[in-house]
Symmetry: C2
DNA sequence: CTGTTAGCGCGTTCAT
DNA sequence: ATGAACGCGCTAACAG
C-alpha cells in the first residue's frame, strides 16, 4: 500500500551501480573485509544510505551454503532449570533447521571456570558464528571470551553476565525486578507477619539482586512484614529441606516464605511434613518439575520464571543481528519475568 | 557433534537424483502443481521421505523474487489494545524486511462484519499469502474466510476466533485460564468481601470465558468472596467510569473489582474521584497506556496481558508453516498470559 | 507429461 | 585494490 518509491528493495547490484564499483567491492564493505580504499568504501556507504539498502540475510546464508551456527554452553549437573533451558534449545533447533539455523548445546562442569574456558577455546569461526554461555565470573573465562571475539566469534552471556568482557550482549531477566515482584505479591497475600527468605548463595549475583528488590519493596510498601533471614541453602534439595523444616518448627506463626534459589522439592517436602503446605504463602523461582507440582498441589503459590523460550528467542535474534554486522545494545532485549499461578500453568 | 549421517541437508537435486526424475518434476510435486503422473509423484514422495528432505523457504522466496506476505486486519477505533497490536506488527515488519517477510496492517470498522468481509474479499493469492484477522462471529465473515481459503489464501484468527470456518489456526490466550488467574489473585488479595465484575459485553466470547473462569475458581476456592455483577460497560471509557462511580457509591465496603473489558481509564478516574484508588483491589486486562499508568499509580493491582509480540510471533510462524504446506494444529501455539504488577512492568 | 535452463540476492574464489 | 564469474536451493519459463 504505502511502499516507498522503489517497489523492489535495493540489491547489491543497485548499490554497486550507484557507487560505480563492482559487486565484490560492495561485498567487502558490507562484511568489513580489507582491501578497499577508504574513499571507495565511502562511496559505497553513501550508496547504501541513499538506496536504503538492507541486505537479505536469507540470501546471504544461502550463498555461503552454510547455516547460522550458534553454540550454547550450559553448566551440567542436576539443575532443573538448566535442563529446561537445554530442552528449549533443542526444541528451537528442530524448527530452526528450516531457516538455516543450527543450534547446538554442550554442558560443561558447573562452577568450573577452567572447564568453561577450555570449551570456549575449542570454538572457531569456521564451526561457529556465535557462542552463548552461562558465564562464571572468572578471569580465565573472560580471557577465553576475549580471545574468541578476536577470532571473529561473537559471544553472548545468558542468565548470568560477564561484564568487562568482549561479550556482545547479555540475555536474562532483571532480578531486582523479580525480587520486587515477589515482595509485592507476598505483601498483598500476607498483609503482615513473618516472612522467611532463603537464597542459594549470597555470593551469586542473581540471588543478591532478588534479595535487594524484595527488601526494597517490603520496606517501602509492607513495613508490617517481618523479614527473617536471608539464609543460604546452596541450591540443594536436602539442605533446603532440613533448613525449611527447622524454620517451620521455630516459627509456628510463619506466614510466608520466599525461596530465591533452587532446591524447591526439598522445600515442598518440608512443608508437607509439617502439615503446613497451603498454609504458608510460598513464592519460588523457575518453572520446572518440582515447582510445577508445587503449584498444582497448592504448596507453592507463585513461581517467577526466567522464560527459557524467550531467552533463546533473544539469543537467536542477537546472533542474527550480529551475523549481519548490526551493532546491538548489550541489554537490548529484556526478558520478561514470567509469573505463574496454579491457574495459568502452561 | 551429533549430526545425522547426511552432513548436508538434502536438496531438490538430491531428491531428483534419488527419484530418477528432473528438478522440475520435483518442484511440481512439492508445490502440488499438475502435470505429474501418479506413479512419478509416488517416486518423488518416497525419495523425499527417504532423504528427510525439507524445503528451504528462504530459497523458495528468493527464487520467486517475492516476500512472504501477511495481511493483518484489525478493528479500528480508539481501542488501546488494537493500537498496541498494530504497533507491534509494524515493529516486527521493520525487522522482517531482512528475512523476506512483508507484514501489512489495515484497520476496518469495528463490530462491523460486513466491513471485515468486504476487506477480505479484496485479498487474493497474488498480493497475499496469509490473512490474519480479529474475527467477528458472523456468517458473512465466515463465507469470506471460506472463499479466501478456496482462492489459496490461508486465513488465521487472532484474539477472537471463528470456529467452523476454513481458518487454519487460532492465535490467542486461553481466556478461561485468564479468568481463573484473576480469581485466584483476587481471592488471595482480598480474603473475602464484595468483588464486582465488569465486562465489555457478555456477547463477546473472550469476556464470557473470563467470567466463567473467574466464577469457577471463586466458587471452588474462595467461597467467602461475594460476587457482584457481571455488568456490561461496552468497553467504553465513559460508560465504565459512570458505572464504576455508581458501584463505589453503592458499596462503600467494596473490596475488589475485576474488569474483563476495556475502558480502564474511566475505571481509574472513578476510583480516584471516589478517593478509593489503592484501597480497592483492581485487576484489569491488557497492558496499554491507561493500565500501565494505573499500575504505576497503584490504582490497578494486576494487569493480565495478551502479549501482542507473542501473538505476532505465532502468526508469523504459522504463516511460514502454512506457506510450506505444513499442516498446523489450529490451536498449536498457546499464547502465554502475561501477568504484570507495578514491579515487573516492562 | 517431463526435462533444460536461466535467474533470485548474495558470498567467494580467482584473475587482473 | 578491484572485478568477473560461478554457485547456494529453489522456481519458472520454455522446450521436447
Amino acid at each position: 500500500m504505502n511502499d516507498k518509491l522503489p517497489l523492489r528493495r535495493a540489491t547489491v547490484h543497485d548499490v554497486a551501480r550507484q557507487a560505480g564499483v563492482s559487486l565484490a567491492t560492495v561485498d567487502r564493505v558490507l562484511n568489513g573485509r580489507p582491501g578497499v580504499r577508504p574513499a571507495t568504501a565511502e562511496k559505497v556507504e553513501s550508496a547504501i544510505a541513499a538506496l536504503d539498502f538492507r541486505r537479505d540475510l536469507s540470501a546471504s546464508l544461502l550463498a555461503r551454503a552454510r547455516d547460522l551456527r550458534v553454540q550454547f554452553i550450559l553448566p551440567d549437573g542436576r539443575n532443573e532449570f538448566m535442563a529446561n533451558l537445554a530442552d528449549a534449545i533443542l526444541r528451537r533447533a528442530r524448527t530452526g533447521i528450516a531457516e538455516r539455523l543450527h543450534l547446538d548445546v554442550v554442558r560443561v562442569k558447573a562452577m568450573d571456570p577452567a572447564a568453561l574456558a577450555a570449551r570456549l577455546g575449542q570454538l572457531d569461526r569456521k564451526s561457529c558464528d556465535c557462542a552463548v554461555i552461562v558465564a562464571t565470573d572468572d578471569e580465565a573465562v573472560r580471557r577465553a571470551v576475549d580471545g574468541l571475539a578476536r577470532k571473529g566469534v561473537a559471544v553472548m552471556t545468558l542468565v548470568s553476565d560477564l561484564p568487562n568482557s568482549a561479550r556482545k550482549m547479555f540475555i536474562g531477566i532483571d532480578n531486582v525486578a523479580a525480587g520486587r515482584t515477589a515482595a509485592s505479591l507476598m505483601g498483598r497475600f500476607c498483609g503482615g507477619g513473618k516472612v522467611a527468605l532463603i537464597a542459594g548463595s549470597l555470593g551469586l549475583r542473581d540471588h543478591q539482586d532478588r534479595l535487594a528488590g524484595f527488601r526494597e519493596v517490603a520496606a517501602r510498601e509492607f513495613p508490617q512484614l517481618e523479614l527473617i533471614g536471608p539464609f543460604e541453602a546452596h541450591d540443594d534439595r536436602g539442605e533446603t529441606e532440613s533448613f525449611a523444616a527447622g524454620l517451620l518448627r521455630d516459627h509456628p506463626d510463619l506466614k510466608g516464605l520466599y525461596n530465591m534459589g533452587a532446591g524447591n522439592s526439598g522445600l515442598i517436602a518440608a512443608l508437607e511434613a509439617a502439615g503446613r503446605a497451603g498454609k504458608v504463602r510460598v513464592i519460588a523461582h523457575e518453572l520446572a518439575e518440582p515447582t510445577h507440582a508445587g503449584l498444582k498441589s497448592g504448596a507453592i503459590d507463585v513461581v517467577l520464571d526466567q522464560n527459557p523460550d524467550g531467552e533463546i528467542r533473544a539469543a537467536v535474534a542477537g546472533a542474527r543481528a550480529l551475523a549481519l554486522g548490526h551493532p546491538v545494545d548489550p541489554h537490548a532485549e529484556p526478558i520478561e519475568i514470567g509469573i505463574f499461578l496454579r491457574d495459568n500453568l502452561r
